[in-house]
């Protein structure tokens, strides 16, 4: 992805370094964009909407880390919203495998609570957000449908 040509604001070198560090040390080790999206959303305070990462803040400062986390969150959101339904189902399967929870339990919880709604970044295109949420709803139904077709003795 080359978003450098679309950069609107002056480059903050600390934020850039924090972003690179975040990508190399953390995000590259997380499998799949959906896992990364949920991870980055968990770095955000529910009340203030500000991102925090204790380890990175010690090295790069609050503002730079906040900018880096926000940028990474938006980038992953855009990437996920552009994926096809089939690819998103693969992302969901990967998320289910990595969650450590039984697939049935996770699917039931996600269908009931829709926690992925709070995993989206702030101030994003409402239509792109609608598209991703709709695709996630469909993806969960695809997984549920596939599991219901699996014979019980397997």
């Amino acid at each position: 992805m080359t978003a450098s040509s679309t950069t609107a604001a002056p480059v903050d070198h600390h934020a850039r370094r924090a972003y690179d560090d975040l990508c190399c040390r953390t995000l590259s080790k997380i499998p799949g964009d959906l896992n990364r999206l949920v991870y980055l959303a968990s770095m955000r305070d529910y009340n203030s909407g500000r991102y925090h990462h204790a380890g990175l803040e010690g090295a790069f400062g609050f503002a730079a880390v906040r900018q880096a986390l926000e940028t990474a969150h938006r980038e992953i959101f855009w990437r996920l919203s552009q994926t096809s339904l089939e690819q998103l189902v693969t992302e969901l399967e990967l998320y289910v495998r990595c969650s450590g929870v039984s697939p049935e339990e996770l699917l039931a919880t996600w269908r009931a609570l829709q926690p992925y709604r709070v995993a989206l970044p702030l101030n994003i295109d409402p239509l792109a957000a609608h598209l991703l949420l709709s695709n996630l709803t469909l993806g969960l139904e695809v997984l549920r449908s596939r599991r219901s077709q699996v014979p019980l003795h397997r």
């Binding site: 992805m1 080359t2 978003a3 450098s4 040509s5 679309t6 950069t7 609107a8 604001a9 480059v11 903050d12 934020a15 850039r16 972003y19 690179d20 990508c23 995000l27 590259s28 080790k29 997380i30 499998p31 799949g32 964009d33 990364r36 900018q67 880096a68 926000e70 940028t71 990474a72 938006r74 980038e75 992953i76 855009w78 919203s81 552009q82 096809s84 339904l85 089939e86 189902v89 990967l94 495998r97 990595c98 295109d125 239509l127 792109a128 609608h130 598209l131 709709s134 695709n135 709803t137 469909l138 139904e141 695809v142 449908s145 596939r146």
Partner: protein, 174 residues
């Protein structure tokens, strides 16, 4: 004779519409480029009217999934079309505001632009009806045509909106 009358009628209608367009209320005085909506990223219409996603859903052989897909995509298509209409209206109002402060208006290009605005709005309204009646993937070609034309009058929007340059995060898979 009938053709001549029809031509005169169409010319009169276009003329009055152009006059109305040029003399209409300019709207808020501070309406400028910053208030002008931006074009949606092109992948949105592609995804909303995607045939690939529909093929994938059909492969799952589940009637419930098929109907859920149609329901979801119909809602998305309506959202996209309403959004397009709102953007066209906003761009038209903005253009009107700017053109009222211009002394050397080119009537021909203004007429062409007016026709484009009317054509796009009419297409969006027709498609709003169509997506309620047929499968949401059916009017895909028309939707992409609207998006292409709307892209000519709306300022582009970068998909990333990044504030810092971004490097590719390696996509590790388990």
């Amino acid at each position: 004779m009938n053709l001549l009358l029809l031509s005169c009628l169409v010319a009169a209608l276009l003329g009055s519409a152009l006059l109305r367009f040029l003399r209409a209320d300019p709207g808020p005085a501070d309406f400028d480029e910053t208030h002008c909506p931006r074009a949606r990223p092109p992948f949105v219409a592609e995804a909303v009217f995607s045939l690939r996603d529909w093929t994938f859903i059909q492969q799952q052989s589940s009637p419930l999934l098929n109907s859920l897909f149609v329901h979801e995509r119909r809602a998305l298509a309506i959202h996209w079309l309403r959004d397009c209409l709102a953007q066209i209206r906003a761009v038209r109002a903005n253009h009107l505001h700017q053109s009222r402060h211009t002394s050397d208006l080119n009537v021909l290009s203004e007429a062409k632009l007016l026709l484009l605005f009317f054509y796009l709005a009419a297409m969006c309204r027709c498609l709003l009806v169509a997506v309620r009646l047929v499968h949401p993937s059916t009017p895909r070609a028309v939707a992409l045509h609207i998006q292409k034309l709307a892209g000519k009058i709306l300022p582009g929007q970068p998909p990333g909106l990044s504030r810092i340059p971004v490097t590719e995060i390696s996509r590790n898979r388990v």
